[in-house]
Symmetry: C4
Subunit: 253 residues, 4 copies
């Protein structure tokens, strides 16, 4: 069995695509953001990516129909631009698998359509709750760093200190080194404790500005408010706990 | 050494086979069911599947004769139908190995005989003991879902929530995507704590109805009753324990 | 880099060799036995087996000279028989690696010299200390089982219950299935807690009878006695401890 | 994607190079030493080594520009000698990966330029703090052992008892067995608890003597003194703790 098999479900006629990735990761920020794009823009599903580097598993839809685990490609045209969205329930299940999946995808897209830019979406986990999460950035070129900054992306020396792990990182790295493609990563700050719709909303807002894709953020804003309420109640619970403890101590003392 | 080596032990003349799989898994439901078929129908053993993705191990028979770990294929003809049974002590030992084993088997069967349908047998672990375990289903097509339902298979939205992991899942997934074969999975509900003959019996009963294979369930029913007795005594022991604890507490109080 | 690289250090002219393996394992019985053969018979070292499936490591000799981790082949002629001994500090570091190493070795030996029989040496770990450890057997054919029995090897139904794991198992399994070679395994019973020279001595005694190789067991007997003394003192210490505890209890009572 | 991809960033004209490796390891001694060479000698960066056996990750520079994880090659000419330095943030992420990376590098260098000697730098972890860490050695030939000894390298029977693990080991082992290249390893003794600049300094001092490369050790000596101060304060803290405990005990007694 080949390492990675990309199977077209629809013939598409694309040129110099802009690839946007949002796979699972810290706080699932990238995945929530990309899944929201797919839900609201209803881009055309045109290919599945199967691989022995994905879990050996089928998922089931509501009717009990099987779906072999895959990553999925969608096409969306905006003006003269061809966007390709990469979504999925899983990243590659090993370091080698991660490389094989990202490399094969880029090779496929470059060979068949050309790729002119890559945007990857992810979360930056801080391990603590945040009032106003920022969107941090990284890019393959100074030009893109400038464009990111102009659109409100924060560049903070030494953050994230470990760089970017997984597809959001190596799609950029492999794209730059082996295919000569520029790209950048938008990382929404997140506690990492929950599926973070608020952070995803912030990422999408900036992605819209940069790419011109118009995404209706309403639904995500509702989920985002729910996220915020959840975080608030977690924070209050935590504070309350400490207070009670203090009271107990005082009581005991 | 090749990834997977399928070695014929007997020449067989098969056409458009129906593949039925039952390898180890949750509660060993699939394995118990399939091993029971092999024991009672005495199908013809015609091939062994060796692979570096199986444990590096030989098993010993009662006389101390070695048997290199393998999965085994059996042939059974019923009317004009050729059934192939896939049995074994082990599944592939990694995600990649699982894909290699399932893909190679399908490729071999399709190339040599043709495959018209796949049924996979497994357990659905609930982590708790059940009075009347159901048989849940999943399938690659709506037609098969209907056939399953007509034969008493339960389709329950969101169950199993993680889909189907291992050979029972990807034989269906790979069969559908790469070989155009329809198939379905029968999953017997089980606590997952024991080798569950009762659940296996239920699975076989439905498999018989769907495929027309007549399996003598007597032995399995005896084992199934033993399973039930074991479960009952476990349940009673658990209940007794709680009662005793309550009594103890009352005694102490 | 190739999976397995067998590098001749000396040209040898062998015919229909008898392969004897003794690599690390439970109680290191097989390794101690084979290393003793190499030490006393001084067979001719003629090849090293290198592989990415062995640890990425060099060992150092007493002078600080490096030796890339390898398995080693030795040749010994007794009458008209060519024996090849397989020794080493490590087994393959993964299931796949185990298969690659054993398969490549057999392929190399069969292609270049022919192989007429395989004997593998190992330990059977019982997890408890034994007064008189037996030597258990397994073989690829009934004929060999008979020969083993005649020479004092014990065949005990269901022992070892998991079969034989590692090179001692799959050299036999692969030899039988893919190269048509008969062979057997001698397993010395051992607690598995210590490097067990006593068990290795028993294995060698029987191997000598079966193969006609004469091995001076004196050194090993001394080590074996030391093993026994160690075991005795461990046993006494254990007993003493229990007694003391009893005394303590009585004292307290 | 190929196992290992070596990408030239500059055309270089080298002959019979001397390879010097310093990758992460115990106490990061080898890495600190080599990174110091690169910082002070400013050799010419001429190639990156990418591989699916490295972490799937990009690192970020101070401006947020991505850099796909790689090992890096530098060139430095001293008189008529061509030195190549191997640096990097990571070693191969599996045993197999380690072999692939080291083998591919040697193959590349031998094929394109020739390699006449290999020096690898590493740490020898002792698990305890040392007043005066020595530099231990290992080599592929007696000649090199002698040269090492003449330059103050210590050869101590049975140290390190496990040989040398990772690139520092197998570059020598593979170089000797498959490419006929001599080489040696310098191992600075270290506690292994900290990034050990003092040990790295000692290693570099000897490397300078052996190779004729002149490295300004000033900066490293400052870091080395800081290391020493840190170690001293750790030692004193430890002693103090024990003293306090004794006092406490006396106090209690």
């Amino acid at each position: 069995m080949d390492e990675v098999i990309i199977k077209l479900t629809k013939d598409v006629n694309l040129k110099d695509v802009i690839l946007i990735e949002g796979l699972p990761g810290v706080g699932n920020v990238g995945k929530v953001a990309l899944d929201h794009i797919v839900k609201t823009l209803e881009p055309e599903h045109f290919a599945n990516i199967y691989s022995k580097h994905l879990p050996p598993q089928v998922l089931l839809d509501e009717e009990g129909i099987t779906d072999l685990v895959s990553q999925k490609l969608y096409h969306y045209r905006k003006g003269s631009e061809d966007f390709v969205f990469l979504a999925g329930e899983y990243q590659g299940s090993s370091a080698e698998g991660q490389y094989e999946l990202s490399y094969s995808l880029l090779e496929f897209l470059v060979k068949n359509y050309g790729v002119k830019r890559i945007f990857t979406l992810g979360g930056y986990g801080l391990g603590k709750m945040l009032e106003t999460p920022r969107v941090l950035g990284a890019a393959t070129s100074k030009d893109l760093v400038e464009i990111f900054k102009e659109n409100g992306v924060v560049f903070s020396k030494g953050e994230p200190s470990n760089g970017i792990v997984g597809a959001s990182g190596i799609l950029l790295g492999l794209g730059k080194e082996f295919f000569g493609i520029d790209g950048g990563c938008l990382m929404g700050e997140t506690s990492g404790y929950i599926v973070d719709a608020k952070s995803a909303r912030n990422v999408l807002e900036i992605l819209s500005k940069i790419t011109g894709i118009e995404v209706d953020l309403k639904d995500l804003e509702i989920r985002s408010e729910e996220t915020e309420e959840l975080l608030t109640s977690l924070r209050e619970a935590a504070e309350h706990e400490f207070t009670s403890e203090d009271e107990d101590l005082r009581y005991i003392g």
